[in-house]
């Protein structure tokens, strides 16, 4: 493609302005605020903030609850990613082979991506509700066995399932696109070479999906760290016993419930660095991935 070059004119800043305004209002300004809060502490009885250097970070990093939050966040990120990508790949392979009902799958599978996280959480509340949800049937067999608000592992399972459900669609679309980009003659050549469908999947389709796979891995992990707030908030509220107190959720609860702005800000900065690191990995290693031509 050829690029058009324009001379500078007033139209350039004008066109950029709305987008810049949005980015400034919702990203740079809050980030700057967070940075300010992270390195200062509000005086107990008013009188402005005082500079405290890395004190807030030291406090956060020596807090066992924080490390608990990190631990469950990592578990959540890995579990949702594996689950979502596994499901997405399976479905995409089915749809690509155009097995019975693939049209329904294809449409049905894209919807969750359009659903906001809190709505996902609410929807799954009906599924997981120990008294009235689908899972309540378990409780009719063994009363009291299923209860999100009592059993930490059940709460974690619930948010993992809800989170994975939300992320499946995104990965699915990418996997399907990548599968359909594999030329039909390749599959046919392998068929002529004697490979059955399963063998072709292992030898041909999966290796050709590797670039997509790595891309989605990073995207999914990043998403699980940042986009899980709505699900946790509606489904478990971080409990029971902080079992689902994911990093994003802890930032919110420490800051807006516990009024520890500085601690929350320090956590935000740490999370931001984590996401930046993941993004860096993506650009550095994944974008330069092997291209098969």
């Amino acid at each position: 493609m050829r690029r058009a070059h324009f001379k500078f004119s007033w139209i350039v800043p004008l066109l950029l302005a709305p987008q810049l305004l949005v980015i400034f209002t919702f990203f740079y300004w809050p980030s700057a605020q967070a940075l300010y809060w992270a390195f200062t502490l509000e005086q107990p009885w008013g009188g402005g903030n005082t500079w405290v250097g890395f004190d807030n970070f030291r406090k956060v990093l020596s807090d066992p609850y924080y490390w608990g939050s990190v631990r469950v966040s990592v578990i959540y990120a890995l579990a949702t990613t594996i689950l979502a990508m596994g499901m997405a790949l399976t479905l995409a392979l089915f749809v690509d082979r155009q097995l019975a009902g693939y049209r329904v799958w294809r449409i049905g599978i894209i919807w969750p991506y359009a659903v906001a996280a809190p709505a996902v959480g609410l929807a799954f509340q009906f599924v997981f509700n120990p008294g009235a949800g689908i899972f309540s049937y378990i409780n009719t067999i063994s009363p009291g066995w299923w209860d999100l608000s009592k059993h930490p592992w059940q709460a974690v399972t619930a948010i993992v399932i809800a989170g994975a459900w939300k992320q499946v669609s995104y990965s699915f679309i990418f996997f399907l696109a990548a599968l359909q980009a594999i030329p039909r003659s390749l599959t046919e050549a392998a068929a002529m070479d004697g490979a059955r469908p399963l063998r072709r999947m292992i030898d041909l389709q999966l290796p050709l999906l590797t670039p997509t796979f790595f891309f989605l891995l990073v995207i999914n992990i990043t998403d699980s760290f940042t986009d899980s707030f709505g699900i946790v908030d509606t489904l478990t509220g971080g409990g029971p016993f902080r079992a689902t107190d994911l990093m994003v959720y802890k930032i919110y609860s420490d800051g807006f419930r516990g009024f520890d702005y500085s601690g929350a800000a320090a956590q935000s900065i740490i999370l931001m660095c984590l996401v930046m690191a993941l993004t860096f990995i993506q650009f550095r290693y994944i974008e330069r991935r092997v291209h098969y031509t």
């Binding site: 046919e188 068929a191 092997v290 031509t293």
Partner: protein, 369 residues
Amino acid sequence: MAEIAIRNVAKTYGKTRIMEGVNLTIRNGEFVVILGPSGCGKSTLLRLIAGLEEITAGEIAIAGQVVNDLEPRERGCAMVFQNYALYPHMTVAENIGYALKVAGVPKAERQARIAATAASVGLGDFLDRRPGQLSGGQRQRVAMARAIIREPKVFLFDEPLSNLDAKLRVQMRHEIRRIHTRIKATSIFVTHDQHEGMTLADRLVVMNKGTIEQVGTPDEIYDRPASLYVAGFIGSPAMSFLPGRVDAGRQALMLESGAALPLPRALAQAAAGRLVQAGLRPETLSLTAPGKGQIDARVDFVEELGAERLYHLMVEDLPLSVLSSEKVRPAEGAPIGVSVPLGALHLFDADTGRRIEPQAAETPVAVTA
């Protein structure tokens, strides 16, 4: 090695019928070229044989076994695709050896065979490269090697040379022929390039709109095209056609332009009184001074071909081409004569388009499909 029998095969996609009543027997070890214009169903026929498409009606037998319901892997065919279809994530060696790997051939034997096959097509130095690091011609060889290594009963080629430049194409043509002489697998080669077809084929199959027009050796098809369609398709530069009526008494073809072209007696009798299209190959005609030949024409334009010139003439409003090595360059619109040797005329029935053969011909009519 195997004989292939195609009996009454038809193919439809949904409601569109794209192939009908195809009958063809390919002998053991024969090299058959399927020739036809784009969209006539050449690839489809090949894919039906390979098992990549399902046959709608009729049957195909390979080595005496009806294969209609067999999977591609059970048919013993190897195929070279137009775009080569190399596995992009595998090395040349892995590409070539994939079929053996799938078949469970032990690694040592596999590697020995890969090395031997690669060497035989001149790929010995490229075994560790990926297809993306090869030139078009080298990729082509990998595709060939991948097919050869399986020692297939049947070798299928779908326009394997169409992505190569002219020089490489000629070179690969010879190489394919050489490989065929060596491994002697029954081969079907699809192309729309008639030079390629003529050079490679033991027998040519000319297809048109999903049916077979004519089957024969390249000579047979060139010398005695069975229909107007084949006559116009085979031969380069293409044959010209002039309409007329056969006058058996005068033993001549009376062209609509008024000229009379003498005919051999047997042919004049066979076509007595019929309306025909007379086919004239440019290379059989020669130019004369105006009024000295059998046909009077005007010069439309002259195409310079290096060693020869192709004279595009007009006989009234019909085009007639003459290929000649004479160095005359008549002016546009100048009158000119064309001389037609006896026996150079191909006659086709004006209604059916079928060839009219001389009566009591010593040679049998070229068998059509």
